[in-house]
Amino acid sequence: MNNEIFVELKNIRKVFGSVVALDDVNFSVLKGEIHGLLGENGAGKSTLMNILYGLYSPDKGEIYIEGNKVKINSPYDSIKLGIGMVHQVSTLVPQFNAIENIILGTSEDKYRLKIEEEREKIKNISKDLGLEFPLDVKVKDLSAGLKQKIEIVRAIYRGAKLLILDEPTTSLVESEFKDLLRTLRSLVKKGVTIIFITHKMREVLEACDRVTILRRGKVQGTLDKEDMTTDNIVKMMFIEKDIKVTESALPKVELPESKKSPKPILELKDVSVESSERSVGLKNISFELYGGEILGVAAVSGNGEKDLAEIIIYPKNLNRGEIYVDGEKINGLSTLQVFSKGVFYTPEDRIKEGILPDGNLKENILLGHHSEDRFLNNKTFIKWDEVRITTVDIIKKFNVYAPSEEIIIRRLSGGNIQKVIMGRAFVNPIKLLVTHNPTSGLDVSTVEFIFEKLVETRGSGSAVLWIGEDLDELMILSDRIAVLYKGELQGIFNRDEFDKYKIGLLMIGGQR
């Protein structure tokens, strides 16, 4: 490694709809280094790299390669500039074998398919890098680790001088990670520069020469090898540089004394959910949640936290273990049956999973309550008057800023949509609220309002299971915090043991 800058991104800004994904980001990588790009999910790491690779075009900003300003409109351009990328989700064609995938799209000879001639070339590259994989097996039958090797070889085959790895370890086992490290080292020796995107600190410490930390679309800073300590990294990832900002950005809500119920409202015994392509599943989760208590579940997204929420409201998917609500076993019940036990839910993605975007507020409030006798005549006809009264009531109680209950929900702001979703949970008195990232992307006053509602719920003797990734928020409001990592419970902290550093470390796979 020398001190020559290989790639430089200047003042990059990217907006998706109304969300600012990247805001004035400056980022540079030196020739021949392994540069870590660290941040929580949604921090903007992948977006930044997709811009460099030409998949997204930035709204503002410039890209320089070896000092020359370049325009990258598509991967076709970036490949020509010597950039290769291994995406988080495999971009191999599952029906093709390794050779076919590697030669796909290379430009020289459009018509002739020279599989046999290329075979040697590919074999040599993979031997050279120590990346061996079967060449003639359909990729869909290969493990994630092998697929990744193919993607790396593909990038090198195309002459990549800069290799971007987007969360390369997501689906790797420990030994595969070690292999990957070795590969990266040998690539560097051959003069390849590497950008390594991750949200796991340990990997940064083991793999990278330097690290840049992104938080909410902004660069928090870049650390050199000698400054790369666990301490510095956790601070940059989880604690804002400017303490004052932290204080004003988070609402002040007091957590008053409350009376815990004598018996648990929610009890999970040894609950397991099989992992799938979409998620890591859950492994032997056991905990108890009492009335009058908020249990925060801290997890970086993709660590089984969604399965945890979903298994409670749809226990039919349970593979092993038992779930009890207020002492009653709910294994095998349907969602509506679970709801009838006094449970309700607010999903993670409020637009995609939470609302009927083209429905009015009444139709949205009714969702999940549509089979309840109080809203039905003869179990068939909906009492829309009753729904209207309830909706108006919720609009008032939850301060939903809406001209009337007839308005199409899509027209409301994110905060007001969340209030409707939250309000829906309180149509009936509830014993347990399962809420997943209820505050993400909302302004401070709405966050404060939702906090108040959660505290109120807790005060009334109900239990709240709050799954979230913002540790600051969880620490303000939770009685206890459970940490979930790779589908396993890492530990539960009582309020007096809350330690941002310790919990943050567990969330990203560190040891206690």
Binding site: L55, V93, L104, D109, R112
Partner: protein, 305 residues
Amino acid sequence: MLSFINSFISQTITYAVVYTLTSLGIVISGRAGIFNVAAEGIMLASASIGFIVSFLTQNAILGFIAGMIMGGIFGFILAYIHESFKVNQFILGISLVILGTGLSDLMYKLIIGVKLTAPRAPKTPLIKIPFISEIPIIQAFLNQDVIVYFLYFVILFAWWFYYRTKIGLETRAIGENPKAADVVGVNVVKRRYLSTIIGSMLIGISGAYLPIVITGTYMPDISAGRGFMAVGIAIFASWKPQRAILGGFLFAAIEVIAFRLQVISQNIPYQFFLMLPFISVLIIMMIFKKQIEYPASVGKPYSRE
């Protein structure tokens, strides 16, 4: 017996032209991610124009070319409206079926008009290979018209294109995972246009084959659901060219068998034989449910963000 087998194979091959070309056409656009459910409409419109041109020029080949061009136009409309306006492919397909249905009879009535005796299409040139065309069984395959030979050519070409060329490989990749093709620098939109137009051209030729060769004259609704059955074949073939070809021959055989049984059988009403091909589509799709794989992107518009 031999002559029975001979004529059975020969007739099956004639019908296989229709089924195979159409399902191949659907497969070709499907491989690039466009689900062409408009096949029936394309066949009808091409059948009409194909017949009209061949009748007026007294040249069958010109008729097939006209059918092919009509198919290409439909393919372009399908690709253009889908890619530019992101209209749902199924809605678009159904609209085009109705458009083709209306267009076919309209063109015929406006240009040919109502005649007392049905006008006949000119003969399609036959190809006979000396000696080989005399051997029983083989004769059934080779003693055929130029379009059958064209079908053989298309089959070989499709196989060569998809499995022996790089652009074929890339086109297959688009259907499986357009992002995969995009990230390696393939122009997804351009390929989608090309595949849809070429696929629809094949469907157009198959449409023209109906009046020019099979019936010898034009009649309303001449494709009689075969375009939709071809969609079924493409699905059950999981958009694999070789399986679509097999499926095309299979359904041609089913149609011929149903037709022959109709003549022989006295106890079973003929209507049940006419139902047979349609019911077979559903039964085969039920049986092969587990094996059916859609190209992952088929039916969906592609956008990066």
